[in-house]
């Protein structure tokens, strides 16, 4: 565990030592802020109509839910930037030789890198709480669905990170890793679009495969064990395949 912490810390430090972390967080905050502004504005104008005609308004369901759903798509675009360098850069620069010849197991290295990347992602999510804070200052949203939403984002991010790690471990070119990761994430997102038109057999399968589809319930504030298990198993699978990939590379040399 000591080694995992050391490696995770080094990963995090290297994100923040370079402009990378700030660029990633900035790139995330900008569209997130636009979506937040748009949904909040339409919520405000709607609530003024509602004040005249009567009817219930809900910040959680009409602002936070949509903002988080859109955030899940922005994350899909941002995540390759976080994971692309994890392994490929170490392979390119040769520092992987240090890790693989140190008394550290493959699992510890992979877990350290996973936690490091997830740490940056969590920091990125934490900054968005500033926006949510505004809602708490001027309105009265419920905190429980909010927690569910952020838990969902974390789980979904974990699944993205583990797939990104896997792809990064197969190449020593971080641009290749980034592009492939991006395309894979994109496929995992748009595969859900076929769900409605694909018929009774393939439809449920495609919507099951879509990573972002499983997030919808979390955005609504529902923690469904089905989705939790889906994400956790995806994370496990990704990390397991990464360890196999690292081992294969070792034999190939």
């Amino acid at each position: 565990m000591r080694n995992v912490a050391a490696i995770a810390q080094r990963e995090l430090r290297s994100y923040f030592a370079s402009p990378m972390a700030y660029i990633i967080i900035g790139f995330f905050m900008l569209p997130f802020g636009v979506f937040f502004f748009l949904y909040l504005r339409s919520f405000v104008s709607q609530s003024m109509q509602m004040a005249q005609f009567g009817g219930a308004m809900n910040l959680n369901q009409q602002v936070i839910r949509y903002v988080l759903q859109n955030a899940s798509v922005i994350i899909l675009f941002i995540m390759p930037m976080i994971t692309m360098r994890t392994y490929s850069e170490e392979k390119r620069s040769g520092t992987i030789e240090l890790l693989l010849t140190s008394p550290v197991s493959d699992a510890e290295i992979i877990l350290g890198k996973f936690i490091g990347a997830l740490g940056l992602y969590a920091a990125m999510l934490a900054v968005t709480l500033l926006y949510i804070g505004i809602l708490f200052v001027w309105g009265r949203p419920e905190w429980k669905p909010l927690v569910a939403g952020y838990l969902g984002l974390l789980l979904m991010g974990g699944a993205f990170v583990s797939i990104g790690l896997l792809i990064s471990s197969t190449t020593n070119n971080q641009i290749v890793a980034g592009v492939v990761t991006f395309v894979v994430f994109l496929m995992l997102w748009i595969i859900g679009w076929f769900a409605d038109s694909a018929g009774p057999v393939i439809g449920p399968i495609t919507s099951f495969l879509s990573i972002t589809e499983h997030f919808d319930d979390f955005a609504k504030g529902i923690i469904d064990t089905k989705h939790v298990i889906y994400y956790l198993s995806l994370i496990t699978l990704g990390l397991f395949l990464t360890s196999k990939s690292v081992d294969t590379e070792r034999w190939r040399g």
Binding site: R13, E97, S102
Partner: protein
């Protein structure tokens, strides 16, 4: 301390290392010599547990590097060909990180980092980012990294590459000072380095071990017999037969280095000095003796010979104890 038994490494159809075996005794410095692509780095990577061997066994400090990798790695320090530095960390941060993953207890980390920075003379760069260091400093930080957990075994892949002459001398001194407490394997293709720092040399070519001996024995052994270079002004006569008739002379051949008329390589029986008789023979016949000197093979020539052709058959017959130890001054 290190034992390599019949280790082979194949990448698909390419054999990088072919049935390599050698031992390194505790406290010894072993030089690993070979042309580029001979399999030096691959062998070192197998020893450090970076990659498994296709066949054979390697043990470090009594631990099999394949079945007990963590135990073996804990006792091994490794400087790869390119020092594995993280460009965005300062030297101190980097060494602290390495100390952590090498298992140095947290209480001792600071003093260990300070000690190795002083020993490798990088303390003046402690807060410089690794990415901004010159080649010489990078190499020394790499060395600092390798010794930070005070390992029993040090594996150094070309430790003096890219250093200036002063730094090379400092690094060699450092490596020599580490011997005794550490068992060291270092690879290089700089031959004087082997003669100056190593007690034993393994010469490897095309994945195979072609010679294992002390640097002195290697130069003596390869020479086979005592060889003299003789140049005679015989005034038209052929002196070869006359030279061969001198008692103790076993072979006379034209000197092939410089095809000069009258220049010969004269081999004699081991331990027998025929210079006096040779000179006498030449002078009494009225010829001019222009040059008479013993021929020595430098380590460079030994190296070229063993890596480009098979060893001459008679050298195999010589036992190591029999070979005369000779202090050939290496060309720096």
């Amino acid at each position: 301390m290190i034992e390599v038994q019949h280790v082979s490494k194949r990448y698909g159809r390419v054999t990088a290392v072919d049935d390599v075996s050698f031992r390194v005794e505790p406290g010894e410095i072993l030089g690993f010599l070979g042309p580029n692509g001979a399999g030096k780095t691959t062998t070192m990577r197998i020893l450090t547990g970076y990659m498994p061997a296709s066949e054979g066994r390697a043990t470090v400090a009594g631990y099999d590097v394949f079945t007990h990798p963590i135990e073996a790695k804990r006792r091994t320090g490794y400087l790869p060909e390119t020092p594995p530095l993280y460009p965005d960390m300062t030297v101190r941060e980097y060494l602290d990180f390495v100390a952590r993953i090498k298992g140095v207890p947290s209480g001792e980390r600071r003093t260990r980092v300070d000690t190795v920075m002083q020993r490798t003379h990088v303390d003046d760069m402690a807060s410089r980012h690794c990415g901004k260091l010159s080649k010489g400093y990078r190499q020394r930080v790499g060395l600092a990294q390798a010794i930070i957990h005070n390992p029993d075994v040090l594996i150094l892949d070309e430790p003096t590459a890219g250093l200036d002459p002063k730094q090379i001398i400092e690094t060699r001194d450092l490596i020599r000072s580490l011997a005794g407490n550490h068992t060291i394997v270092l690879s290089t293709h700089i031959l004087p380095e082997v003669a100056q720092t190593c007690q034993r040399v393994v010469i490897i070519n095309k994945g195979r071990v072609v010679a294992v001996d002390t640097p002195d024995n290697l130069t003596a052994r390869l020479r086979g017999a005592e060889t003299l270079y003789v140049q005679v002004d015989a005034a038209g006569a052929d002196p070869a037969a006359a030279l061969a008739a001198v008692p103790g002379v076993t072979r006379v051949a034209p000197a092939d280095q410089r095809p000069t008329p009258g220049a010969f390589e004269v081999e004699s029986e081991r331990g027998r000095d025929v210079r006096r008789e040779l000179a006498h023979t030449i002078v009494t016949r009225g010829w001019g003796l222009l040059e008479l000197r013993p021929m020595r093979m430098s380590l460079e020539e030994v190296f070229l010979q063993v890596t480009t052709e098979e060893l001459p058959p008679e050298t195999h017959a010589l036992s190591e104890g029999e070979a005369r130890v000779e202090g050939e001054a290496p060309r720096a």
